[in-house]
C-alpha cells in the first residue's frame, strides 16, 4: 500500500486555519534568523479526504479485538467496552490541563483517589500509585521502591533480585534499569518455583524476588506463602508482576499471598484498550511499610472532603513520569470497575479460567501439553509433535491467520519448546471457542496430511510472511523519496 508521502501533491492541505487576528511582526524580528528553519519539514501534502481514506485503509490492514478472537497469552485481549471510550473523552476529563489549581479539578482528583482505593482493595495493598505508564514502567517503579526501602534501612548492599526463568522479559530488563543484579532460578518439574532451589539462592544480599502468579505457564504458585516466608526471613521483599491478575480478581489478592509490591496492567485486566501497543497504565501498589517510597504526588483528602496533590513525601523515590500518570486510561479502567462491581470482577476470573480450561481440555489431544493440570486464565501448548513433521510453531501461528484468528503468543515462555501460549479471556463466547478449537484441529490434521500448506502460510493476508532478517540487516526505518 502507498505511504502517505507517496500520495502527496504540492498545494494540498488537510486543515483550514484561522487568519492571524493580532498585529503581525516580522518573524526575523522575533527570532534570530540563525535559529530559523530554512526548509519546511518534508511532511505530506494531502487533503482531509485523502488522509481519512489513507488511515481508514491502513486500519483495515489491522486485526483488533472487534475484528475477531485474539487469544494472545499473557496479554489479556478482552473486549474493550465502547462506553469507556466516551467517558475518557468527556470534556470534563479530556479538556483538563494538568496544572490547573486543585479546586478546579476536584473531579479528576476524586477519581484518582477512588481508583487508588479500588486497586488497593483488589490487590490487598495499602496504597497504589497511578503514575506508571505501563506494566514494565510499574515494575521499574516497584523495584526502585524496594531498593529505596533497603537503602533507607541501611541495607543498601541488597542488590540481588531473584527472577524465575519463566518470567516476562521485562522483569530482568527492569531489574537491570533499577541497578539490581539478576539471579535466575530454574522452575521445578511442575512448572512452579522450586523451593529447594529458592532456599539455596536466598541470602543476605537478596533485595527481593519477582514473581508472576499465576505464572506464565498459567499455573498458580500454590506454595506462595512458603516462598514468601523464605524470602522474607532472609530480609528480602516480594514483587508481584500483575500481568496475570485477570485469573484471580476477587478470588485471591497479592497482599494475602505475601507480596509487598504489585503492579497491575489496566490495559489488561481492566479492559482499557491496548491501542496497537499503548497507551497502557501500570499502577503499582505497596504494603504499608513501603508507602513512604511511592512516587509523588499522591492524591490525599482533607478534612473538609476536598482532594489535593501531596508532594511533601521526603522518602519518595521521586517521579517516574510527568504529572499523574495516563489519566485517560485510568478513567476507562475506573468506568469498567464501576460497571462490573465486586461480583462481576470475580465472575471475570471464573469465566476466564473456565474458558482457558475448556480450550486446554479440547486441544491437548492434538498438541503436546507439557504441564497437564488445571490451568488458570492461560495455558501453554507445545508444537513439538508438529515440529517433528517439519512444521514449527510459527507456521502454525501463521496458518491461524488464514482461519481468521490472531495467533496465540509464540515461543514464550522460553522454558517450553515450540511454545503456544493461549489466553481466551472471559469475553469470548462458547461458539467462538469451539470454532477456534476446530481451526486448531484442522491445522493439526494439515500438518499430518499437507504440511507444505502450513509451512507456507499465511495465504490470505495482505502481505505474506515478511523477511525479518532483511529488515534487521539493512534497516530502512524512514521513507526516502
Amino acid at each position: 500500500m502507498e505511504l502517505i508521502f507517496e500520495q502527496s501533491v504540492p498545494g494540498r492541505t488537510g486543515i483550514s486555519l484561522p487568519a492571524i487576528d493580532v498585529p503581525e511582526e516580522e518573524i526575523e524580528s522575533l527570532i534570530p534568523a540563525e535559529y530559523l528553519r530554512q526548509e519546511p519539514p518534508g511532511l505530506p501534502e494531502v487533503s482531509e479526504v485523502e488522509a481519512a481514506r489513507h488511515f481508514t485503509r491502513l486500519s483495515r490492514r489491522n486485526f483488533g479485538v472487534d475484528t475477531g478472537f485474539y487469544p494472545l497469552g499473557s496479554c489479556t485481549m478482552k473486549y474493550n467496552p465502547k462506553v469507556n471510550e466516551d467517558m475518557a473523552r468527556l470534556n470534563g476529563f479530556a479538556r483538563i490541563h494538568p496544572y490547573q489549581s486543585a479546586d478546579t479539578v476536584q473531579g479528576c482528583l476524586e477519581l484518582l483517589y477512588h481508583m487508588d482505593r479500588c486497586l488497593s482493595e483488589l490487590t490487598g495493598m495499602a496504597r497504589v500509585s497511578l503514575q506508571p505508564a505501563a506494566g514494565a514502567h510499574g515494575e521499574l517503579t516497584g523495584l526502585m521502591m524496594i531498593k529505596a526501602y533497603h537503602e533507607n534501612r541501611g541495607e543498601g548492599h541488597r542488590k540481588k533480585i531473584i527472577v524465575p526463568d519463566s518470567s516476562h522479559g521485562t522483569n530482568p530488563a527492569s531489574a537491570q534499569m533499577a541497578g539490581l543484579e539478576i539471579v535466575e532460578i530454574k522452575s521445578g518439574k511442575n512448572g512452579r518455583v522450586d523451593l529447594e532451589e529458592l532456599r539455596k539462592t536466598v541470602d543476605g544480599q537478596v533485595a527481593g524476588i519477582m514473581l508472576t502468579n499465576p505464572n506464565t505457564l498459567g499455573i498458580f504458585e500454590s506454595d506462595i506463602r512458603e516462598i514468601a516466608d523464605i524470602v522474607h526471613s532472609a530480609g528480602g521483599l516480594l514483587y508481584n508482576d500483575g500481568a496475570n491478575a485477570n485469573a484471580i480478581l476477587g478470588i485471591s489478592t497479592p497482599g494475602d499471598m505475601g507480596f509487598d509490591v504489585v503492579h497491575l496492567n489496566l490495559h489488561k485486566s481492566f479492559a482499557a484498550p491496548h491501542g496497537g501497543g499503548g497507551p497502557g497504565s501500570g499502577p503499582v501498589g505497596v504494603k504499608e511499610r513501603l508507602t513512604p517510597f511511592l512516587p509523588k504526588p499522591l492524591v490525599e483528602i482533607k478534612e473538609d472532603g476536598s482532594y489535593y496533590l501531596e508532594y511533601n513525601r521526603p522518602l519518595s523515590i521521586g517521579k517516574v513520569k510527568s504529572y499523574y500518570g495516563n489519566f485517560g486510561v485510568v478513567v476507562k479502567a475506573y468506568a469498567y470497575i464501576l460497571a462490573m462491581g465486586p461480583e462481576g470482577l470475580r465472575r471475570v476470573a471464573e469465566d476466564a479460567v473456565l474458558n482457558a480450561n475448556f480450550l486446554m481440555k479440547k486441544l491437548k489431544e492434538y498438541y503436546d501439553l507439557p504441564y497437564d493440570q488445571v490451568c488458570k486464565h492461560e495455558f501453554v501448548l507445545s508444537g513439538a509433535r508438529q515440529k517433528e513433521k517439519g512444521v514449527n510453531t510459527e507456521d502454525i501461528a501463521k496458518r491461524l491467520l488464514d482461519y481468521g484468528y490472531h495467533p496465540p503468543t509464540v515461543y514464550f515462555p522460553l522454558i517450553v519448546k515450540e511454545a503456544l501460549m493461549i489466553e481466551p479471556t472471559e469475553t469470548e463466547n462458547l461458539e467462538t471457542l469451539e470454532r477456534f478449537i476446530d481451526a486448531m484441529i484442522r491445522i493439526a490434521t494439515e500438518v499430518e496430511q499437507e504440511p507444505e500448506k502450513v509451512r507456507l502460510a499465511p495465504h490470505t493476508t495482505v502481505v505474506g510472511r515478511l523477511d525479518a532478517v532483511k529488515a534487521a540487516r539493512k534497516p530502512a526505518l524512514i521513507w526516502k523519496s
Binding site: H54, L111, N357
Partner: protein, 447 residues
Amino acid sequence: MYPYLPVTSEERRRMLETVGVESIEELFVDIPSVVRCKGRLNLPGPLSEMEMVRHMKALAGKNKNLDDYACFLGAGAYDHYVPSIINHILLRQEFYTAYTPYQPEVSQGTLQAIFEYQTMICELTGMEVSNASVYDGASALAEAVAMACQATRRGEVMLSRTVHPEAREVVKTYSRFSGVSIKELGCQNGLTGLREAEERINDQISAIVVQNPNYFGALEDLTKFAELAHRHKALLIVSADPIALGLLKPPGETGADIVVGEGQTLGNSLSFGGPYFGFMATTEKLMRRLPGRIVGQTTDSEGNRGFILTLQAREQHIRREKATSNICSNQALCALAATVYLTVLGKKGLRRVAELCLQKAHYTYRSLLETGKFAPTFTAPFFKEFAVTSQEDTAVVNARLMENKIIGGYPLDRDYPELKNSLLVAVTESRTRDEIDRLVKYSVITK
C-alpha cells in the same frame, strides 16, 4: 447479567462437564484457602451503563474544562487545536483494540503508520532514526540520558536547569537507581549558562542536556552547546517542542545527537496529564542503542513491500537483562494521533500553526507589558511561551482571571523560588485576540 460476559449458566454447566469438573470451584483448587479472599471485596458497583455514565459525568462536571475557560497555562502541556479527524481515526477499532504488532501480516496498519510516524519525527527533528514512541517527554529524556551514558561509557550528565522541572525529576529518579550522576547547569536571563558549562565540562560528562524552547519558552543557542559537547567527546541531548519545529531549525542541523520531546502537542488532548507520548530520535551511528520498538521496511516472499518490528536484539524479550531499556508497551495510539495530525497539517500547516503561536504570544507579551503592571522576567527571544513578573501576587491575578473564565499562567516560583511573582504564560493558536485582550484586562484590574 453482565454485558461483557457472554457465557450463560447453561453453557457454564456444559463447559464444566467437558472439562471434567463438578463446579467452578474445582478449577481453583490450586489456590490454597489461606490466600483466598474472605468475603466480598469492598468495591463500588455493579452499575448499569446508564448509572455509570451519570456517575462519571457528575465527576467530570466537578472539573473546569477548557471548552469553558480560555487557557494560558502551558508549562509542558498545551491547548493546541486537535482536528476532528484525529478522534475518528483513533476510534477505528482496528487501531485502538489491537495489540502490539507482533504478527506483522495482520498488523500492517499499525506498522505502516509507525513507519510514517518515524519518518515525520525525523523530518521534524533533522535526525536519521526514530523509535515508535515512549511514555512521555520526561521518560524520553531519562531514556536518552541512559542511552548517552551507555554510548560514551561515561557516568555523568550536565542537565540544564531550564529543562522542564518534572522531566528533570524523572531523569533524577532513573539516574539515582542506575548510578548516573546528574550535574545541574544554572541559567542566566532564562537561558542555560554556556560559560558555566564550559567551565564545568570534563571527560566524565556523557552528555549536555538542554531543552528548546526551554521551560521558560526561551530559545537556546543549540549550536554552541553542540560544539562544546563534541569538543569533549560528549553528546548533545535536546528536548524539543515539535510545534516549534515548524519554524525552528531542526536540532539535528545544530549538531544534536539525541532529540526527544513531549508529543502531546501533536493532536493529543490534555487529559489531565496523560496519556501523552515521548518521541525519541537519533543518528544512524547510535541507532542500535535506541530503546523501544522500531519499525523497518522489508518485503514478503513475493517481493511486496511490508513493515515489521526490527532491530529487536536490543529489546527486553530477546536480551532480557542486557536490553538497552525495559520499555515494552509504548504510546502507539498517541503516536498515531500525531501521525494523523502531521498529515492533515502537512508541510505548510505546521508552519502556519507555529506562526500563529509566535505572533499571538508576542502580541500577548507586548500587551501585558504595555499595562505597566508587568515587567519582562527575561529578555531572551521566545516562541509561544514567556515569563513576565507581576507587580501583584500571582495567586491574586490568577484568581481574578478564573472568575472571568480565564486560566492564567503558571507561577514560576513553585519550581524557581528566586522568580517571585513571575508567571509563565503560554499562547497557542487556539487563543483568540478577544481572549488575549480579556487576559490583559483582567490581569491588571484591581478591586
